[in-house]
């Protein structure tokens, strides 16, 4: 009884509200990159990998300046010297300082790795974007061409190209890797474009009269970029390895220019007597590849659209 009375005396009053007022926003403003960074920070292995890579890049850039030697002059008083206070990583069979050679070689290896990954990715994304957006016959023809090109084993193709283009310089390697490497990313980009182009913001752009180029470059490709970046970081170690392999069999960078593969190749001949000459560049190749792989994994998790609203 008491309750009924209370109900009667304090009826619910209708609140005035304007239908036009949109809801307020409470969440502070965060940018896309900030969100990614927050997710990335939580993956410790990826973070550590990124830091190690950063240190490697600094050493590659400034390492050669830290001692008085250069990568090509010989010190006949210290041939095959083990690591000492003068020669921090020792010297090779011609008395060249290995500390300097490792970092100068790292410049070459990383430069090739980064450029020979970026170029094929850019080409692949544009190709995949065109193929996926237009679909139909265009898509069919482009995909069959890619199938055929992918049917040729990449390493044979690479070696042939290097033989034709002339071995021994960096640009040859980059061109060869670009020509053999764009197909995979074209396929990946096409797949993502096919998914994204059915989304309504792409249709909205079309109904506004946007040109295909605008749709591909403003809407489709930028939205594949997050996942493509992961592909890039995972391809870099493969290119480092391929470059090392080609240099090892004498098709890479010509001596006296060092690269990591070149250093390993020279050191392999004296591996039993002077293992440090072999182990040191090997260790850096392995470390770099491992870090790029772990970084790629971490980025994939951080950028995964399924973990983000």
């Amino acid at each position: 009884m008491e309750r009924t009375k209370a109900w009667k005396t304090f009826p619910f009053a209708k609140l005035e509200r304007s239908g036009m007022e949109a809801e307020e926003m409470v969440r502070p403003h965060t940018s896309y990159l900030k969100d990614v960074w927050r997710a990335f920070k939580r993956r410790k292995t990826a973070l550590v990998s990124a830091v190690i890579l950063l240190i490697l890049v600094v050493l590659v850039l400034f390492g050669p300046m830290m001692n008085p030697y250069n990568y090509y002059s010989n010190d006949y008083t210290a041939i095959n010297s083990p690591p000492t206070a003068q020669h921090w990583f020792g010297t090779d069979t011609l008395g060249r300082d290995l500390w300097t050679r490792v970092w100068v070689g790292g410049r070459v290896s990383l430069l090739i790795a980064i450029l020979a990954t970026l170029f094929p990715f850019l080409i692949g994304m544009v190709m995949g974007g065109i193929s996926g957006y237009f679909g139909g016959k265009v898509d069919m023809i482009m995909m069959r061409c890619i199938d055929i090109l992918m049917g040729i084993p990449a390493m044979i193709y690479n070696i042939l190209l290097i033989v034709v283009l002339g071995s021994g310089n960096i640009s040859t390697l980059i061109i060869a890797f670009t020509l053999t490497g764009w197909m995979g990313s074209a396929r990946a980009a096409r797949g993502m474009v096919l998914q994204i182009k059915a989304r309504e913001f792409v249709m909205a752009s079309k109904t506004l009269g946007a040109s295909p180029a605008r749709i591909i470059f403003r809407h489709l490709l930028p939205n594949t970029l997050g996942i493509m970046v992961v592909g890039v970081t995972l391809t870099i170690p493969m290119i480092i390895f391929a470059e090392a392999f080609l240099s090892f069999i004498g098709l890479g960078v010509a001596p006296p220019n060092p690269s990591w593969g070149q250093l390993i190749s020279i050191a392999a001949e004296v591996f039993k007597s002077y293992p440090y000459q072999f182990i040191i560049p090997c260790a850096f190749v392995s470390l770099t590849m491992l870090c790029f792989n772990l970084l790629g994994d971490g980025l994939r998790d951080a950028l995964d659209p399924k973990l983000r609203a």
């Binding site: 949109a22 926003m25 896309y32 309504e200 913001f201 249709m203 109904t207 506004l208 983000r308």
Partner: protein, 319 residues
């Protein structure tokens, strides 16, 4: 209501080839007229081709049969300039506010896209225009530099509306703009859409499956069933007299917000399912569920005919 015709659809069809199954006639001979300044409601159940029709009108699909004319000209006969002009004048608001904005573009970029494409308003004026549009749809200027994922569904729909309004269109096709929102927000968005019509004098093709909503906002209503218009009438007239049994069934399904009346409400329950829209035979497509179905309905497909002035129905028994 001015009598200037904006859109005229003459037995428009859009068919899809379905692998190993045949032809899906999503839109099958639709004839409609949309006048300047009016709101034409298009209702029908899921899968009846409402959205396909809307998308055909904004040239996302090319119609397989029939003709769509805009201000008297076939929309597929435009030259480049006329085509751009068409895209400026005919805009669409999409159903899913979560998929209709590019996640990488801040609101300002999304809204300004049409301005960029059509080279409207240069430099500082363009920013001012974006701010004005934000105000028009009830958002703040601080929202301009935020990303879509920071907004709620209703707010995103407002952004979608601002994007469509930016190019000053004559007609907006609203493709179920509120069906993904919850009811309180639905009211806000519908009020916004109607206010904009009063202020700017827009025309709407309002696609929805919400019958009580369409009654509120439409001047005329078209009822669609399996790719065809079965009844077309001024809103008031349709709710007072309906001649097609499908319309009657639909209208009887509207709940009434009064428990006393609601209890007495009689629903017409349709028996049977929607027939497979792939490879429909001849005859009336509604006959499998129609209480009035007769021999004639199997043989002959009923055409839209004028029952009373301005009120059309496609049923053999309509009088």
């Amino acid at each position: 209501m001015a009598d200037q015709v904006l859109f005229e659809l003459k037995s428009v069809s859009k068919h899809f080839q379905v692998k190993n199954a045949g032809v899906l006639k999503a839109v099958n001979g639709v004839s409609l007229t949309i006048y300047k300044g009016e709101t034409l409601g298009l209702v029908g159940e899921s899968g009846c081709g409402k959205t396909t029709l809307g998308h055909t009108m904004v040239k996302l699909y090319k119609n397989d049969g029939g003709m769509i004319t805009y201000k008297g000209r076939d929309i597929w006969d435009f030259n480049r300039r006329q085509n751009m002009n068409y895209h400026k004048n005919v805009q669409i608001i999409y159903q899913d506010p979560y998929a209709s904005l590019n996640p990488l573009h801040v609101v300002r970029q999304s809204i300004a896209e049409g301005l960029e494409i059509h080279k409207l308003y240069k430099g500082k004026k363009r920013t001012e225009r974006v701010m004005e549009l934000l105000r028009m749809v009830g958002l703040n200027q601080e929202h301009a530099n935020r990303f879509p994922h920071e907004f709620s569904g209703g707010q995103r729909q407002r952004i979608g509306i601002a994007r469509a309004l930016a190019v000053e269109p004559e007609i907006i096709i609203c493709d179920e703009p509120v069906s993904a929102l919850d009811v309180s927000i639905q009211a806000q968005i519908v009020n916004l859409i109607m206010r904009l019509q009063r202020e700017i004098g827009l025309s709407y093709l309002f696609i929805t499956h919400d019958l009580s909503l369409v009654k509120q906002i439409s001047d005329r209503i078209a009822v669609m069933y399996l790719g065809a218009i079965v009844e077309l009438a001024p809103a008031q007239s349709l709710y007072e007299h309906h001649y097609h049994p499908y319309t009657s069934a639909l209208l009887s399904a509207i709940p009434i917000p009064d428990p006393e009346v609601e209890k007495k409400r009689k629903r017409i329950m349709l028996s049977g399912d929607v027939p497979n829209p792939i490879n429909l035979g001849g005859g009336c497509s509604f006959r499998s569920r129609c209480p009035k179905a007769a021999k004639r309905c199997e043989l002959e497909c009923p055409q839209l005919k004028e029952i009373t002035p301005g009120h059309f129905a496609a049923c053999h028994f309509a009088e």
